[in-house]
């Protein structure tokens, strides 16, 4: 008896627990025909209305897009757009008329759209100094901005290629002869204005370089209030992008004609880019976006199709349960 208790206390028998014995309660779903069909049906049921909803929402968005870069180039310069855009003496004002197809309810967002413009190029994206933008004491932090970092007059604020290439076309909108107010407030993200661009950082030495890139800045306004710059410096993900220019806070009625007076300053000719101005309303889904709804519908449709096929398959040719003769190695062994 003594010996047995002693051996017991020294027993190396593994302790029983559901964990160590790998017997934890588990949910073991498997792909039964029921599951397969149900999941395809569910996806189809979810996606089809979602797609329709998105399409409907997208359909309700009214969008006016106008490409103006070519049309705003005087014919005399059509072979040499470069000299037109780089000259200080050419008249860059350009007038476009747009027709409102349907009623647009405020707020109407004004965008400029650039094409073939690589704001996501590594050299471009890196060429900025976040420190400098936040803090006037860090104005010298321009290492990343080269070559647009400074000159004899001191560091450039804001430095770097991004700021330097600031978009500088301007738009004015008229309904008949009456100018439409453009609200340029709150076109940038709140957090950018508050935390990334200092309210006590003022542009310095900007566009003062031998090469002038894009637009200039008002040196009396702190960066946090230069919303155009903030919007521009939020680099776009893809080479075709829109950026918010402003908002129109009045409704535009259907079939109204709007005149846009454009200052065509920004050079996209040299790299073969396009410039567009876009007016768009937005709802819960954002702007006009048919792809989204179509995708939903496509996936829903595919699933519906597959579900039907599987149902037919299982109704017409149900598979006998667990027949191991399906297995390849069984067949091989039989042949031996």
């Amino acid at each position: 008896m003594d010996a047995s208790t002693r051996t017991k206390s020294r027993s190396k028998k593994p302790q029983y627990s559901r964990f160590t014995q790998q017997e934890l309660p588990a949910w073991k779903p498997i792909l039964t025909p029921k599951w397969i069909i149900t999941s395809f049906v569910i996806i189809a049921i979810l996606f089809t209305p979602a797609g329709l909803l998105c399409l409907w929402a997208s359909e309700r968005v009214v969008e006016i897009i106008d490409r103006y870069d070519d049309d705003c180039l005087p014919d005399s310069y059509s072979t040499d757009p470069d000299s037109f855009i780089q000259s200080n003496n050419t008249n860059k004002t350009c007038v476009r008329t747009l027709k409102v197809p349907r009623k647009m309810t405020a707020p109407i967002f004004i965008y400029y759209q650039l094409d073939n413009f690589y704001q996501n190029h590594r050299r471009y994206v890196k060429s900025r100094s976040d420190k400098q933008l936040r803090d006037p004491d860090e104005a010298d932090e321009t290492e990343d901005c080269k070559p647009i970092n400074g000159n004899d007059d001191g560091p450039i604020v804001p430095c770097g290629l991004v700021a330097w290439s600031l978009f500088n076309d301007t738009y004015k909108f008229f309904k008949g002869n009456k100018a439409i107010d453009i609200d340029k407030k709150d076109i940038a993200w709140e957090s950018d204005k508050k935390y990334k661009f200092g309210s006590n950082v003022y542009p310095k030495n900007f566009q003062n370089w031998e090469l002038i890139g894009g637009g200039a800045l008002d040196e009396s306004k702190p960066l946090s209030e230069q919303e155009d710059l903030i919007v521009w410096m939020k680099t776009a993900a893809l080479p075709t992008f829109r950026k918010l220019y402003g908002k129109i806070n009045t409704d535009l009625e259907a079939n109204e004609t709007i005149t846009v007076v454009i200052q065509n300053n920004y050079n996209t000719y040299v790299f073969g880019g396009e410039k567009k101005v876009a007016l768009s309303t937005a709802n819960w889904i954002g702007g006009k976006n048919d792809f989204f709804g179509i995708s939903f519908l496509t996936i829903g449709g595919v699933c519906f199709f597959v579900a039907i096929n599987f149902i037919l398959l299982y109704v017409l040719k149900p598979r006998p349960l667990g027949d191991p003769s399906y297995l390849s190695w069984n067949r091989n062994q039989g042949a031996q």
């Binding site: 470069d82 993200w189 976006n289 597959v306 599987f310 031996q336």
Partner: protein, 1184 residues
């Protein structure tokens, strides 16, 4: 390749290490020369000459690292992996402007991964260190300053005199001086060295045996000259000079460290080897490192990924070069906003080739996410945890020996699921190696009514009707006998012998002599249990114990042994008398001699030589005349062998005084000679006396099959695993054992290859070696070809006849020859079972090697003894049985189990699971990294291949570490396709591993393709749905930051849901890890978004402010995730319908309720438990 070389080195090592190395006896002459230069000044540690020798102390360290070298050494180990070097280089380059990310974000995961691995190494080493500290601080009595005082083990020095008490371990290798016994013997248990539990006898020299009291050591001075430290446990060469005399030392005088003093109150000894010089430490080598096939294939996948990485970087850089080149257009710069006129070489349109080259390096870093940095460390962690599960499995715990299964290495877990051929030892592996005396043949009469398991199997085979009437009655008796009395090692029952009835037998004098020989001619030691007064025996082999026990049960109880005598209680004329026999000489057993003899003088002053040995030798030694029952005995021996029993022949010879005297002189001379040919001298002397023997009879002991062996073998065979048995037994025994353990079945066609043909035998008589060899080879070739044609014939008729190949050791030697090997292997592979009998340890290893290299499939060798070590190390997986025969096999093994039957669970359950887990884990690992890495490439294509990553640096660094790694680990540790019960019920499931269908190239490439597909779906849906319009009601558009978050969210969701979709086993752990990882991504995004924007840069408040309020963001996530999963789901839906895998079938059966436990059938665990209980009850009955 380095790996291949490593393996070869291992192989060559086996033979030099193992015990069957011939001992060279000419070594005594070399003392003092190279390799034999050690000098020990006994009891004189402060002798200036001794100090000068600077032998190591007794401090032992088994740790891999020390505090100082830990960092460099473990780092070096880490960076031996190609992938880690790549990441290190990337981390170094990341400080240059080439890097697409911040250096810290590259360094962090690398440091984390390296740190985790190093921490694991450190913890393991710390455990070893703690053991070392314990060992080093054990206490020992050491003679210093003329008295014995207690000191720590580590303070011992060479030459110290120590006193070791009963049941203490020897602290170092000692030279035995004297013991509590007057004749200076002591008993030693060497369990820790070779695992043998029997006691070994050690002798001190007569002239030192008198050293006893502390005072006598005062004057004791001696010098030992001996071999240098080496790992050979079975030889020792040295000499002791004492009082100006030289005495040769042998292993008889050496007590090895870590063995234990037994049955002896105390011994005195001199330290000759300390610390790492001791034999046990010299033997402590790590088990050979083996790598699994999956891991080797994984390396290839890594190479594929590396080439993918290089090629996409290359393509990227070409495009980048073109784009950059195009920026310079007839002297004017096109993309002016990049300011190409003043740029570094990285983007210089004037030197596009250079820019492209540099970009290539950037690309290598950018797409580095294709190489899963955490793969190795994850796999390692997973395997360790898998091993824990193997160790913890209650169903592989053996109650009787108190031994759980042990995974000694975690490298090979998944290899367990791919075993194609099992090569098994027989004795101790299939059988218990606890011998039971069941039959004997005395004076030509066979005694013993018991039926062996083999006989039962034979009976089944031959149909019951054919049995003679006498035997059938025995079967019914059998149970009655067993319940009446049960003695371990004794399963003999015969009313003619037992209960002293033998005296009434016609040949009672022969019977008396027979059992007397069994009681005297052995090396066992009696042990009296103090509490019960019961006698038990410590014997060198279980056979021997069985004989002594049998003699006792019949009435010849051996109860005392001294150096010179053996005493028995003998039953004579109806009463018990004590008899003592003077033990004059003992000629020990050796595998070459195959016999042992003792020469005794009885009370009547008669001299006898008592001898027992293998039949093949013994019949030659019998005297030519008057062997009245030689033929009957031979007959019986053959019958016994057929019944699967081990037989020995027992004989004796009366000696006359004169002959003995002359012989003894010669024998003593031979024994004391130190010349080269001492062994052959002894053999020659023995040969002279061991002749003209008079036959008494033969014994038969049964080596019982282990519990559950036939069932296990049947299961393994059903699982499609081929089983080869490699045994040293006779062919008949082997075949019968084969039937008993269901390796051979009734319908099987046997192809027997042997050299026992009359032609060869007649050639052998001519003793022309070359002719024999030539004829043998031809005969083997002919037999092999015949076998081949038989198989071909059966195959062509497409009949389902199964073949079994049986080959004996001598034929094997020829069959393993280069020219015949291929033919042999081809036949062997086509046979469902193979038995190699009479095979030597070396042949076992060679066969293993041949199977491994010939079939290129996974081999598993299982064995329990030192003779299996070569085989275990040669096989892909070595499984040691931690049974009675010691720990040597276990030490050389990768897995240790207590019983053969656990192999079933180890392979079919754990092996299958581990294989599946690791295979799926690796596939999934590559999937998730490709899915992620390729989104970067697609984004690149839209960023003019400039090397701008799509995501924030830290999202990427955390990808492998936090957002996707834990679910994979959960998969690797916990996933089960079907439960353990079903794994065992459907053994064919195991073929998934053997055929490697979960990790074949189509599947791997399929997963990779799925990864690329996922990345495309993710990127292109994200891109097209967000292209330029507003994504919120307030008119904001998607920018670089938001697209990054959106895509990354989709990736995290998609890969985690892909995981959820591809497993079908969810415990709370899987749920927690999968959904937790997704949830953690959002948590991370929120927290990271609130860190100072200088740190979080593009992630600053991006989720809270921009993404979370936008329904578009959530809907895109939903759309993308569903679309990404759809291809795989469709594939699986079609697969389960049209081409289901075996586990799909079983899962379906289970889910449809076909696999409920029927009320009649108890689950395995409960049944086992009940078996145990009933067995325990039986035991307690016996004790009462």
């Amino acid at each position: 390749m380095a790996f291949g070389r490593h393996e070869r080195v291992q192989f060559s090592k086996i033979y030099s290490l193992s015990c069957f190395r011939p001992s060279t006896r000419d070594e005594h002459g070399q003392i003092g020369q190279k390799g034999y230069s050690r000098v020990v000044y006994c009891n004189d540690v402060d002798n200036p000459e001794a100090v000068q020798l600077r032998y190591r102390g007794n401090y032992v360290s088994t740790t891999k690292y020390t505090a100082i070298n830990f960092l460099p050494k473990s780092l070096f180990e880490q960076f031996r992996r190609v992938a880690n070097i790549y990441f290190l280089v990337v981390a170094c380059v990341s400080f240059s402007p080439l890097a697409p990310f911040r250096a810290s974000s590259i360094l962090f995961p690398l440091l984390l991964v390296i740190g985790a691995t190093m921490a694991k190494e450190g913890v393991e080493d710390w455990r070893r260190r703690k053991q070392d500290i314990k060992a080093n601080n054990r206490k020992i009595h050491v003679y210093r300053d003329h008295s014995f005082s207690e000191r720590k083990w580590k303070d011992l020095r060479v030459g110290d005199l120590v006193k070791v008490h009963k049941d203490e371990y020897f602290p170092a290798d000692l030279l035995l001086l004297s013991s509590s016994y007057p004749d200076g013997i002591c008993y030693v248990e060497t369990m820790n060295l070779d695992g043998e539990t029997n006691l070994k006898l050690k002798h001190a020299f007569d002239f030192t045996a008198s050293l006893h009291d502390d005072d006598s050591f005062r004057q004791f001075k001696a010098v030992v000259k001996c071999e240098d430290p080496n790992e050979d446990l079975y030889s020792f060469v040295g000499s002791l000079s004492y009082n100006n005399n030289q005495h040769p030392l042998s292993l008889q005088q050496v007590l090895l460290r870590d063995s234990k003093l037994k049955n002896t109150e105390y011994v005195y000894g001199v330290v000759i080897f300390t610390g790492h010089d001791t034999k046990v430490m010299q033997n402590a080598t790590d088990p050979p490192s083996k790598r699994s096939k999956i891991e080797r294939r994984m390396d290839k996948i890594i190479y594929i990924l590396f080439s993918t990485l290089i090629s996409i970087s290359f393509i990227g850089s070409i495009f980048f070069g073109i784009r950059t080149n195009r920026d310079l257009n007839n002297g004017s710069y096109r993309r002016w906003y990049l300011e190409p006129s003043r740029t570094t070489a990285l983007y210089d349109p004037k030197r596009p080739a250079l820019a492209a080259l540099l970009h290539f390096l950037t690309g290598l870093m950018l797409y580095g996410y294709l190489i899963p940095i955490s793969l190795y460390v994850s796999i390692e962690m997973v395997k360790v945890l898998q091993s824990v599960f193997i160790n913890q499995d209650q169903d592989m715990y053996h109650e009787e020996t108190n031994r759980p299964a042990r995974a000694r290495t975690s490298n090979l877990n998944e290899e367990l699921g791919q075993v194609d051929t099992v090569l098994s030892d027989k004795t101790g592996t299939l059988t218990c190696n606890s011998m039971e005396f069941v039959k004997c043949s005395i004076a030509g009469v066979s005694y013993g009514r018991g039926m062996t398991e083999v006989e039962l199997a034979l009976a089944k085979r031959k149909n019951v009707e054919q049995l003679d009437a006498g035997n059938t009655s025995n079967i019914s008796d059998d149970h009655a006998v067993k319940s009446r009395k049960s003695v371990k090692g004794f399963n003999f029952w015969d009313e003619r012998i037992m209960d002293s009835q033998w005296v009434n037998e016609p040949n009672s004098d022969v019977i008396q002599k027979f059992f007397r020989v069994l009681a005297i001619c052995h090396t066992a030691i009696p042990e009296v249990n103090r509490d019960t007064g019961e006698l038990s025996y410590e014997a060198e082999s279980p056979d021997e114990a069985a004989f002594v026990i049998a003699a006792r049960e019949v009435g010849f109880e051996f109860f005392q042994r001294t150096q010179t005598s053996i005493s028995l209680h003998e039953f004579e004329n109806g009463k018990t008398v004590d008899r003592s026999y003077e033990l004059l000489n003992m000629i020990e057993f050796s595998s070459a001699r195959k016999r042992m003899s003792v020469i005794i003088r009885n009370a009547e002053n008669q001299l006898f030589l008592l001898c027992k040995g293998a039949d093949s030798i013994m019949f030659e030694k019998l005297s030519k005349e008057s062997q009245p029952f030689e033929d009957q005995t031979k007959n019986h021996i053959n019958k016994y062998a057929e019944a699967g029993l081990r037989t020995l022949v027992v004989a004796y010879r009366p000696l006359d005084e004169v002959e003995y005297k002359t012989w003894e002189e010669e024998f003593l001379n031979a024994k004391t000679s130190v010349s080269v040919d001492r062994d052959s001298l002894i053999d020659a002397a023995a040969e002279k006396i061991e002749r003209d023997l008079i036959l008494l009879g033969a014994t038969a002991v049964e080596d019982k099959l282990q519990k559950g062996v036939p069932e296990c073998i049947e299961k393994l065979a059903n699982a499609g695993i081929k089983i080869w048995v490699l045994t040293g037994d006779k062919m008949e025994t082997a075949i019968n054992i084969g039937y008993a353990c269901r390796l051979l079945a009734q319908g099987m066609k046997q192809i027997v290859i042997t050299l026992d043909s009359p032609d060869i035998k007649s050639l052998e008589k001519l003793r022309d070696r070359e002719a024999i060899a030539k004829a043998s080879r031809e005969s083997i070739e002919k037999q092999l070809r015949e076998g081949r044609s038989q198989i071909d014939l059966a195959t062509s008729k497409s009949s389902s006849v199964l073949f079994a190949l049986i080959i004996d050791g001598r034929s094997l030697a020829f069959a393993l020859d280069k020219s015949l090997e291929e033919l042999f292997l081809k036949i062997a592979v086509d046979c469902s079972s193979v038995i190699c009998c009479r095979s030597s340890p070396k042949q076992k290893a060679l066969v293993t090697k041949m199977v491994k290299e010939g079939t290129r499939k996974t081999t598993l060798a299982i064995g329990d003894g030192a003779n299996d070590v070569g085989m275990l190390q040669e096989a892909d997986i070595g499984v040691g049985i931690s049974g009675a025969e010691g720990m040597q096999a276990v030490m050389a093994s990768d897995f240790a189990i207590a019983q053969f039957r656990f192999l079933e669970r180890l392979l079919l359950v754990h092996g299958h699971w581990c294989y599946r887990r690791i295979a799926m884990m690796i596939c999934y690992f590559f999937y998730k990294n490709i899915a992620f890495g390729f989104t970067l490439l697609w984004f690149e294509a839209h960023a003019s291949f400039s090397g701008q990553p799509a995501y924030n640096d830290w999202y990427m660094s955390f990808y492998n570490v936090f957002f996707t790694s834990l679910p994979v680990i959960a998969l690797g540790v916990f996933d089960q396709d079907v439960s353990a019960r079903l794994c065992l019920k459907y053994p064919l499931l195991y073929q998934e591993g053997v055929q490697n269908i979960l990790f074949n190239w189509p599947r791997i490439l399929g997963w990779m393709f799925n990864g690329v597909l996922s990345s495309m779906i993710i990127f292109f849906i994200c891109k097209n749905s967000t292209i330029h319009q507003a994504f919120r009601e307030d008119g904001h558009v998607i920018d670089y930051e938001i697209l990054g978050v959106l895509m990354y969210t989709c990736v995290v969701w998609a890969v985690n849901c892909q995981m959820a979709l591809s497993i079908n086993y969810f415990t709370w752990i899987q749920h927690f890890f999968i959904w937790g990882s997704i949830f953690f991504w959002y948590v991370f995004l929120v927290i990271y978004g609130y860190i100072n924007p200088l740190w979080s840069t593009t992630a600053y408040r991006v989720f809270v402010e921009a993404c979370a309020p936008s329904p578009f963001y959530w809907m895109t996530t939903f759309l993308v995730v569903v679309s990404t999963l759809l291809p795989y789901f469709l594939y699986r839906a079609f697969q389960t319908r049209f081409h289901p895998m075996y586990h799909d079938e079983i899962q379906r059966r289970r889910s449809e309720g076909c696999e409920e436990v029927s009320p009649g059938e108890l689950p395995g665990r409960v049944k086992d438990k009940m078996d145990h209980l009933s067995e325990r009850m039986k035991h307690s009955h016996r004790e009462i």
